[in-house]
Symmetry: C2
């Protein structure tokens, strides 16, 4: 058996420095432009890949009535919710604490006419009170998918396969998906003769792999030594196929344990056949925090991240709590943690923030607008700005502005002595642009026909697209 992947915390330097947390509630993040661009790219790539599998995005309300959503929420989760009273109706509202429960509510109560199976995806925030210093945000950005209306190994393996492919797609390195079945440990506990309370406590300890605590729970009630030994061993059963064989030994022919093992084995083998063996880790102690899971469950961990990046599983009875029993499975990913785990270093070095800064004295504002519009029509990213000061300083002020805006090229229009059809061009940041030769710090400006500049911009965009 291989050991579980290491999960140390690493300082998330880049992420921390581009997020500002003062004056806003702890755990509520303002994501500044550079990071926001990467977060949005991440979300977009995840959803695009999920979309390839036939999942359609749904947009859910940020708050709901507590009484309506409560059947889908654990009591512990309700306690973690932000609640407030609706002035209009007097009813209690809560900020969405979980996307899966909200989708279950919607499918049961709102999408009753929809054809099954339903494949739904979402990008959203969920909101939870967290213990201070829990290292987790209170507003958690999630992307996920739910496959509703099927109960077979194909759908179990589908959602896990989609998730694994998503993680590869966004460039996450060396992650593991620990894969289990809640029925196995539940079966062991039920068979042991533990009280209902004892079973619950043991489940929690096993889920956290807290063996001393598990020992304590087992010692507090009188159960057989064989049963206790099996329960004690389960959380340590993680690895590849051999885990299933050992699990079968502990099951000792009990069909209520054999069935979950058989299902787990089938899903595992399907995922291996799809090429995902290296990403998988069977874990007979796997047991997610949500009580609604009742079949295959899974978690994602990446090297260097101290908490799971996401996970999911089968929740056949959740939608039924809202009055429409439907088998379902799904996954969710924590976009913020994923953002901290993915290496964006490639992308950062290659591009200026904007392609052109177009500058003009204020008397030439009209010309400025016109030139910038022409460049924008080529698909370039263009900032336009009128410059204060006199004609003598115009170019140097424009170059300074271009440098501050991280523009690859500075274009000056309306300078005195320059024809309306001509512009002055300074490739101030050429050194940072791919495929251009590095230039001096303040290269001289070059007079150019506007038409030629626009043609060059069009060419450069076309080449940029071909490079992709």
């Amino acid at each position: 058996m291989v050991s579980a992947p290491p999960k140390p915390r690493i300082p998330s330097g880049q992420a921390a420095s581009s997020r500002e947390r003062s004056l806003v509630p702890v755990g509520m993040a303002t994501i500044l432009p550079h990071a926001a661009k990467q977060v949005r790219r991440l979300e977009g790539e995840l959803l695009a890949h999920i979309n390839c599998w036939g999942y359609d995005e749904i947009i859910l309300p940020t708050f709901e009535y507590l009484d309506v959503l409560a059947p889908g929420l654990e009591p512990e989760l309700i306690e973690q919710c932000y609640q407030f009273v609706d002035r209009t109706t007097g009813r209690t509202l809560l900020l969405r604490p979980d996307a899966t429960a909200q989708i279950a509510r919607t499918v049961a109560m709102g999408l009753t006419g929809a054809t099954l199976p339903l494949r739904l995806s979402y990008r959203t925030s969920v909101f939870r009170y967290e213990r201070e210093h829990a290292g987790r945000g209170r507003e958690i950005f999630q992307v996920g998918a739910e496959l509703i209306g099927l109960d077979d190994v194909t759908s179990d393996s589908e959602v896990i396969g989609v998730m694994i492919e998503c993680l590869h797609r966004v460039g996450l390195q060396s992650f593991k998906v620990s894969l289990g079945h809640v029925g196995y440990i539940k079966g062991l506990l039920m068979r042991s003769g533990l009280s209902a309370q004892g079973q619950k406590l043991a489940e929690q300890a096993a889920a956290r792999k807290d063996l001393p605590r598990l020992e304590e729970v087992l010692a507090s009630e009188r159960i057989s030594k064989t049963a206790a030994r099996a329960i004690r061993e389960a959380p340590e059963l993680y690895g590849q196929e051999e885990v299933l064989a050992r699990g079968r030994v502990l099951a000792d022919g009990d069909p209520s344990l054999a069935a979950p093992l058989e299902r787990l084995g089938q899903v595992y083998r399907l995922l291996c056949a799809a090429g995902h063996r290296d990403s998988l880790l069977l874990d007979l102690g796997e047991f997610r925090g949500f009580d609604y899971y009742d079949g295959i469950v899974f978690d994602v961990f990446a090297e260097g991240v101290g908490a799971e990046l996401g996970g999911g599983g089968r929740y056949d009875h959740l939608i039924g709590r809202f009055g429409r029993p439907l088998p379902s499975t799904g996954f969710g990913l924590d976009v913020d943690r994923l953002f901290r785990s993915v290496d964006f270093s490639d992308e950062r070095s290659v591009s200026a923030r904007v392609d052109y800064l177009v500058a003009a004295p204020s008397r030439a504002t009209r010309l400025l607008t016109e030139v910038a519009a022409q460049l924008r029509r080529t698909g370039s990213r263009v900032v336009q700005q009128t410059m204060k000061g006199n004609d003598a300083t115009l170019i140097s002020v424009a170059v300074a502005a271009g440098s501050a805006q991280q523009a690859a090229v500075v274009v000056v229009v309306g300078a005195s002595g320059i024809d309306h059809d001509d512009v002055l061009v300074v490739e101030s940041l050429s050194a940072q642009m791919p495929g251009r030769r590095s230039g001096r710090m303040s290269p001289p400006s070059k007079k150019m026909a506007l038409a030629d500049l626009v043609a060059a911009a069009r060419r450069s965009r076309r080449q940029g697209k071909e490079r992709l």
Copy 2:
């Protein structure tokens, strides 16, 4: 002077039918897949265009401390906020009621090191209590942009130009941007000798173009007939250039009125030079609901929509309320109202929901996964599903599933007597696909080598891309 564009309400049938509102608080919308796809496309197109002008997206927290954000909010808006007490700190939190105030707070307190001018964009929800039957959501989806650190006509016209281009880009037909300057009507009121309270009441009446109410306010205090006449006339001054001339007559040489008119004229002429004349309507009574606007202001109206789709203006003193005086201007668009105003009919008719439904009996799940993966690698949208039932019904069950999932092509793998390298193909929905001949309702299946199917999928994707 042309008349103001008509603004009747039309029933938003398509939007209403694809939104489900029961059991969730009135005004909190669940946006179902078909509509969600269009809403996301709309958001994406708006942000992509704003991005071309050099604006960077920022992501802001959904709730904040009331005491921190309050300096940027009108008392009336604070009353419309969703507030609740933070269990962790005991401080009052509020759901973001306005994106501009939150960005102002962030720029003043968090982005103190950033280079000016700053161009920021956002997509977000804002939350407000609305009077019942106000016909407005309580969760309002917005996309917008702020240009911070410049006070000149170029920046005034820039944000309006970006907004107008955004509206054209998403295909909005026949809209008008009413353009004014709050300084003009404020100047008229100040000069009139009305009390501060009277000025405020008159502003509100003028903003709503509620002439009887305005009359009432003017009659309640003793002011000169000339002053009253000018105030009474201002809200009716809308149209093109001639409005400025008439405004100058009413200003009667008063520099505090001439300056706003001059600025307004410059911005108007710049926008006309950029080709936006047909979208503009000068309006000397224009006066947005937010007290923080203090210069050029504007609103967007579209034919057939009873409320503004968005708007914005200059708010030079807002950021200063958070301790860092910076001139600024910006706009915001209401994504939901825009969604109801844009015609998506073109896009709806041309595509199946998914390209392929791949079906197999459950014994062939592994092959199913493999074939679906190969098709997905061509960039196609592929749903995979194992079929219940016996071999005799396999194809008809698969075709029914394909039709339910609106798949263009149904692929059956693992049917008995069919080689592993072959598949059965049924173009069940070929009639709905562009560029294909319409077929019978249940055309017969066709045996095909898997490799040929994948090659055809790749060709079809390439052609699809070229068509775009």
